[in-house]
């Protein structure tokens, strides 16, 4: 006998406004709404509502309002409604609770405790409307020193392969299967148009997207889905995915509900099975093994493409990153506690890993101390919400940031966290062809390009204010940051002074 499960959301329908058009009935994949022809009524089953607001957005007469149900049970600071709801579901099913998107718990968000500097009088600020501002970023291994020809002054040092992005914002890896074909197409097109990079995630790469290859990072993860020489050769770079911020230390099971025929073909697995990505890559049990795979990928791509290693932000991230750089990684991506996912056990998403701000600061410091910071670029990921977060990340030591959730929100995601169900009403985190059609890839491309443009303009404003005209001069420049409301140990890890100091 199932527990009484109070609805999380309340669907308010203004019957006087409802014209019985049944848009809500047809739009809701969670089957909240139904039409009763006998009584000419549209009814709602609130307990099925996930709060994605699709019906509300599409209701032509604004007859619908979806509200959070405050569930006014006896207040209890310890046993909160979420604990009780989760506990009851587990008592019902005996199963691991899944979730989507990123950690939604109130762990300290350090971006919100860091403030930026600005120039006044002595080092005047720069007007980005007048002066050229450089956001172009080169990702890849930099040499220890530069040598020049004595006669003509030409550079003689051989540089390793570099990725060039016009803004320090790169789309994070989200697999084909986790998010829809149209979402991938939009990310591809936006990266191409704006001059940044798209990341395939680990679910393979539909062949028709390879025309965007010069702006694509392909992923090599534990499931090794869709990886052949074509895949590696068509891309601009290869990323070895060791970890993901939303689920450090574990693999991934793309639920069978999302493994449609095209997904199965791309991944080379049976249709209708869960796509299993084991927790570790079973050929990588040590830094030496990691070096072996980095070497294999470099050999397979003629040493012409940078290899990135993506790790979760965990307690010992600095030492792990150092090992990965020494193993030959040209780029290190660090994905923090608030990084998103298409499906992860809730207990892992909400309890494992550390905030990106602390991990990023620690990794940058460690690589600087060891004298190998120039051997790899750093991509910071996991909870970048605004251009200010980008600027703060770069000041802490990143070369550029990855955005995943922010890009999905730009495409229409409302963060209902139901990505794992295969029922995304917005056509984003879904593979069902009927639902996928809801995302117009060209409109989504516009939204993504607009986001990149807006953030880039804002970054230039902030840089100009600091009297800096090249993003490179901000990297690791922690004098531009001050902390507010932080403990001493936090300021120490971040390497920033408290405000006023």
């Amino acid at each position: 006998m199932p527990f009484f499960a109070p609805a999380q959301f309340i669907v308010d329908r203004d019957d006087a406004r409802c014209i019985r058009c049944k848009v809500c009935v047809n739009q809701c994949s969670f089957e909240v709404h139904s039409y009763d022809a006998e009584t000419d009524e549209v009814r709602s089953r609130d307990e099925r509502c996930v709060g994605c607001h699709r019906c509300e957005a599409l209701c032509p007469t604004r007859a619908l309002a979806v509200r959070f149900n405050p569930m006014e049970i006896r207040p209890n600071a310890n046993w909160r409604p979420e604990h009780i709801r989760d506990l009851q579901r587990q008592a019902d099913t005996g199963g691991v609770l899944l979730t989507g998107a990123g950690n939604d718990k109130p762990f300290r968000i350090y971006w919100d405790h860091l403030l930026l500097n600005a120039s006044q009088v002595t080092n005047p600020s720069i007007d980005p409307l007048r002066e050229p501002m450089e956001l172009r970023t080169f990702l890849g291994r930099k040499p220890d020193r530069l040598d020049f020809d004595d006669l003509d002054g030409e550079l003689t040092t051989e540089l390793g392969p570099q990725l060039v992005v016009e803004t320090p914002i790169v789309f994070s890896g989200m697999s084909y299967g986790a998010i829809s074909y149209n979402a991938h197409l939009a990310l591809n097109q936006a990266a191409q148009e704006f001059g940044t990079l798209y990341n395939t995630g680990e679910g393979g790469w539909p062949a028709e997207f390879r025309r965007f290859g010069n702006r694509t990072i392909v992923q090599c993860a534990s499931g090794r889905f869709g990886i052949d020489l074509d895949y590696l050769e068509s891309a601009a770079a290869v990323e070895i995915k060791i970890g993901q911020g939303a689920k450090p230390g574990i693999g991934g099971h793309l639920p069978a509900e999302k493994v449609t025929a095209p997904v199965a073909r791309t991944r080379m697995i049976p249709a209708g099975t869960d796509a299993l990505s084991p927790a570790p890559q079973h050929d990588i049990y040590s830094i030496e093994d990691l070096a072996m795979l980095i070497g294999a990928l470099k050999e397979a791509t003629g040493y012409a493409k940078p290899v990135c290693v993506k790790i979760s932000a965990v307690h010992n991230a600095a030492a792990i990153a150092s090992g990965a750089v020494r193993a030959g990684a040209d780029i290190i991506a660090i994905d923090g506690l608030r990084g998103g996912t298409g499906a992860a056990p809730k207990v892992i998403r909400d309890n494992v890993g550390i905030p990106i701000e602390l991990a990023l600061a620690a990794v940058h410091d460690r690589l600087v101390k060891e004298g190998i910071r120039n051997h790899a670029s750093i991509l910071a990921a996991g909870g970048i919400r605004s251009s200010a977060d980008v600027v703060k990340a770069i000041a802490l030591g990143a070369d550029a940031v990855y955005i995943g959730t922010a890009a999905l929100v730009a495409m229409g995601c409302t963060l209902c966290q139901m990505c794992y169900t295969g029922k995304c009403n917005w056509g984003i985190a879904v593979t069902d062809p009927w639902l996928t059609k809801r995302l117009n890839p060209d409109i989504a491309t516009r939204h993504l390009v607009n986001l990149l443009r807006a953030w880039s303009l804002e970054i230039k404003e902030m840089l100009g204010g600091m009297g800096i005209n090249a993003i490179e001069s901000l990297r690791g420049n922690r004098l531009q940051l001050r902390g507010v409301g932080l403990e001493d140990w936090e300021l120490k890890v971040l390497g920033v002074r408290g405000a006023g100091a």
Binding site: S222, L232, D283, A300
Partner: protein, 252 residues
């Protein structure tokens, strides 16, 4: 047949692979590597259907991501052989190390003797693209783990017996054929055991013949195994019991 010989002594791995690639691209149908001593990634970036004979001991990740060539190793191979290999064939006149043919997508691997731990993990399969691995001897723990497709055969020659545990853990596609006794405790919980059916028998007869042709005249485990001398009987077939082995792990 045009044949190109490279002396690998003292040649570093990147240089050696570059020379092999150049030889293949120059139109040579066969490349012979002599005095190989631990160089990694041999054949990795080769896409031509060239024949590569390796004398000596190749290093790790032989034929990783390989697409088309045939590599014959006249000796033992190391770890990571055929890693994520897409097509072609690798023949080893000897044994191979750990993590053999991880995530192999197509083509064939024949190992005359034994292989190590974590072999044939997460093999793929789609449509007509079915990777096949034939091992003359035995394998160690985690054999065929997470298999999503493909066919893997352990002939059990050489008398070492099968001591592996966790065979086929997480298996959700493909088939493993093992000659000889397998204790249920050696198997992953997701694995079913059956008698090979008629189609399986035909497949086994085919790959046994292929094994005999490759190793029948050698000195290793396949020595003297002429026609009919490798039993086609006594195999068990391991298959995935569930399409979604971990479907019930989660609250629905």
């Amino acid at each position: 047949m045009s044949r190109f010989v490279i002396n690998a002594r003292g040649v570093d791995q990147r240089d050696l692979n570059g020379r092999v690639r150049a030889a293949a691209e120059a139109g040579n149908e066969a490349v012979v590597l002599r005095n190989v001593h631990g160089q990694r990634y041999i054949g990795t970036s080769l896409r031509k259907p060239v024949k590569v004979d390796v004398y000596g001991t190749p290093g790790n990740d032989l034929g990783a991501f390989m697409d088309g060539p045939t590599i014959e190793v006249h000796g033992n191979a190391q770890d990571g052989l055929g890693n994520t290999m897409n097509s072609g064939e690798i023949i080893v006149h000897g044994g191979a190390g750990d993590v053999l043919a991880m995530s192999m997508r197509g083509g064939r691997v024949f190992v005359e003797g034994n292989v190590g731990y974590r072999c044939a993990i997460h093999l793929k399969e789609y449509g007509s693209k079915v990777p096949v691995i034939v091992i003359g001897g035995t394998a160690q723990d985690f054999f065929g783990e997470y298999m999503a497709g493909g066919r893997v055969v352990l002939l059990g020659l050489g008398g070492d017996g099968l001591a592996a545990n966790f065979i086929g853990t997480g298996m959700h596609g493909g088939a493993i054929f093992i000659r000889g006794r397998v204790d249920p405790e050696q198997l992953g919980k997701e694995v079913g055991v059956a008698e090979p059916d008629e189609a399986d028998q035909a497949f086994l007869a085919g790959v046994i013949e292929d094994y005999r042709r490759r190793f029948g005249r050698g000195r290793g485990a396949g020595r003297g195994r002429g026609a009919g001398q490798i039993p086609t009987e006594g195999f068990v077939k391991l298959y995935p019991r569930f399409l979604r082995p971990y479907g019930r792990l989660y609250a629905q």
